[in-house]
Amino acid sequence: MSTDTETRGEAGRRSDDASASRRATDSPAESLGDRIGAGTTVLAVVSVQLVAFAAALAVGYPGAYAGFAVLSAAAIAARRNRGAFGVLAAALGTVLLVALGLPLLMMVARQDPGLVAETAADPAVQQALYLSVYAPLLAAVASVALGVPLALVLARGFPGQQLVESLVDLPLVVPHSVAGLAILFGFGEGGAFGGVEFTVPVIEFTFKFTVLQTMLGMVLAMTFVSAPFAVNAAREAFESVPTRVEWAARTLGANRFETFRRVTAPLAWRGVLTGGVLAWARAVSEFGAVAIVAYSVEFFYLPEGESLSAQHAPVFIYNTYLSSGLQRSGAVATLLLALSALIFLLVRTVAYDDGGWP
């Protein structure tokens, strides 16, 4: 017999930090329910939804599917005993899910699987996709590596903090093409560092700071548009680490850095990772700034073990659209979507599940 259950409480009630409590909720109702049963239910629900969508598409009323999705979400919430409010929340939430998912779903449904497969086999497409995972990764790493210290400083608080926070958020509103120009003028030939050369003495390696059409420029442009997400997420994560727990580390002999390394960082890493993923995703989608700063770049393509030149996927898709039309560019976009969805799922399931600490 089940009562009014707030699953969240079951496993997370003792957690003294938000993230611990959050994770604990990942196995809701499983305490009493059957883990395998939950998996089957998920599969069943997903299949039913897909079938319903296919049916709606087939009869030509994809809009009808939206209604179905909302109703079924409400029904599931009702079955899971979430009360009227829970049912309403599920229904409204599904409206948004539909608004976000339906366009993508319909786009994917429109694709010709043969063409998608053929496109996937095209080395140029593979290179673009590779670059579009790789360069955003560099940007995300840069955002996190530099954003974490900034987030830490912001989480600690200082006078005039609002100014800095607003500055951090400013790149968010900069139109993408303006962002590209700003970077070009800011760091390009005439701007700061433009053409500055560093020479590493021993190996006689000279590094010239050029942004135009270089990997450096692409990563810089991506970092510019995506770093605010990394900083904001990391700041929230650091703020939710309980002060007293950090203090405890200090009294046990850990200095600031050690406390950060062994306590603050491990407690905040999920938030930081979320920020990194957001930054990565934002960088993947960037077209305007990248198209201006680094329309195509030379980079080292691991699968072939050589340097070659390719375009960031959004740019590549745009070009494909111009030269080969909607069908083919849609296929590339579908591949990009699928790849990203896979990466999201991987990050969410593998990386967030570190066992032990609940």
């Binding site: 390009g188 201006i292 030149s309 111009l322 030269s323 069908q327």
Partner: protein
């Protein structure tokens, strides 16, 4: 050669021997110092993407060079060079006047007019009136209530003002004939909307059902897989001769603070003076104005100008000059 040079039919000219006196020394000295340039950068208009992308592999094969193309609107592509400080080895735009007015003399000294295009009307099988439409009644269908005709933004895209011009020209008389009257014109104008900046997005909007008809270049229309109506030369801006040029001049469009006067569509191409591999650039231009390029242009719905026309002044590379005639005007258009 004066401004009065004859207005030829675009496709029938046979003279390709006109080589103006640009020293062979130039050619030699240009070729020699950059034998190692193994890549070339091409900025070009969206409507040149299909032919240029088709040409790219063949060209790369032939010259052993990597071509990096950057497609963007014609104006945007030009501005990359003039305001963003970018360098390109080739710049191809859908209106040579962009090069004439913005690139010369600061970023280049010459250009070639190498192709024309025509305006056409694309639609979906299920667009209203799609089953009736043809070259002789398209205006009647476009003037019906509730039909949505899209074109790109005249303020920022040559394709946009050309679409408006095409519709304007229908009400103008040519040889005493006009296609439709002022009322029809007004009704069509009312049905026209600007759903995008550059023409490249129109096709998607048409396919998505948000437009019933789209007015853009035949080169795009013929590649898209959707049906289209080829408009008559009366309105399609394709005729690069005096008679039609004078007719086309009757259309004027004011947008974004500029006034555009009707003229035949004439694609321009150049090797900017900021090019890093000017020889590669010249090779590309040469390729596009010679047979292999012309064939590709034609395949992709463009109309190659044969021979191409280059400016009389400026450092026209020899390999280009030898395939083109040098003029100071094409038809009525000043070079």
């Amino acid at each position: 050669v004066g401004g009065e040079s004859s207005g030829q039919e675009t496709t029938t000219d046979g003279e390709s021997e006109t080589t103006t006196g640009i020293g062979n020394a130039t050619e030699a000295s240009e070729d020699a110092p950059t034998p190692t340039a193994d890549s070339a950068t091409v900025f070009h208009a969206g409507s040149l993407a299909p032919p240029f992308s088709a040409a790219e592999p063949e060209f790369e094969e032939k010259y052993g060079v990597t071509v990096n193309r950057e497609a963007k609107g014609s104006v945007a592509s030009t501005k990359k060079i003039t305001t963003q400080g970018r360098s390109a080895d080739v710049l191809g735009v859908s209106d040579f006047r962009l090069i004439r007015d913005m690139v010369v003399p600061e970023y280049g000294s010459w250009y070639a007019v190498f192709a024309t295009n025509a305006m056409s009307l694309q639609y979906r099988e299920d667009s209203p009136g799609a089953d009736e439409i043809g070259p002789d009644n398209w205006w009647e269908i476009l003037s019906r209530d509730g039909v949505k005709v899209g074109h790109s933004d005249p303020a920022v895209d040559p394709g946009g003002y050309r679409a408006v011009m095409a519709v304007q020209l229908g009400k103008e008389k040519l040889d005493g004939q006009r296609l439709y009257d002022r009322q029809t014109y007004d009704r069509i104008r009312d049905n026209m909307t600007v759903p995008t900046g550059t023409e490249t997005k129109l096709e998607g909007q048409l396919k998505a059902g948000k437009l019933d008809y789209a007015l853009y270049y035949r080169s795009i229309a013929s590649q898209s897989g959707l049906p289209h109506v080829d408009l008559q030369p009366h309105v399609d801006l394709s005729k690069l001769n005096r008679k039609y040029a004078q007719h086309y001049e009757k259309a004027t469009v004011t947008a974004g603070g500029n006034e555009y006067v009707g003229a035949p569509i004439a694609y321009g191409i150049t090797v900017p003076s900021v090019a890093e591999a000017p020889v590669r650039g010249a090779q590309w231009v040469e390729y596009m104005i010679t047979d292999p390029g012309r064939r590709i242009l034609k395949n992709k719905g463009l109309i190659p100008k044969t021979p191409a026309v280059v400016t009389k002044d400026g450092d026209v590379p020899a390999r280009v000059a030898k395939h083109a005639e040098a003029k100071t005007s094409v038809g009525p258009l000043e070079l």
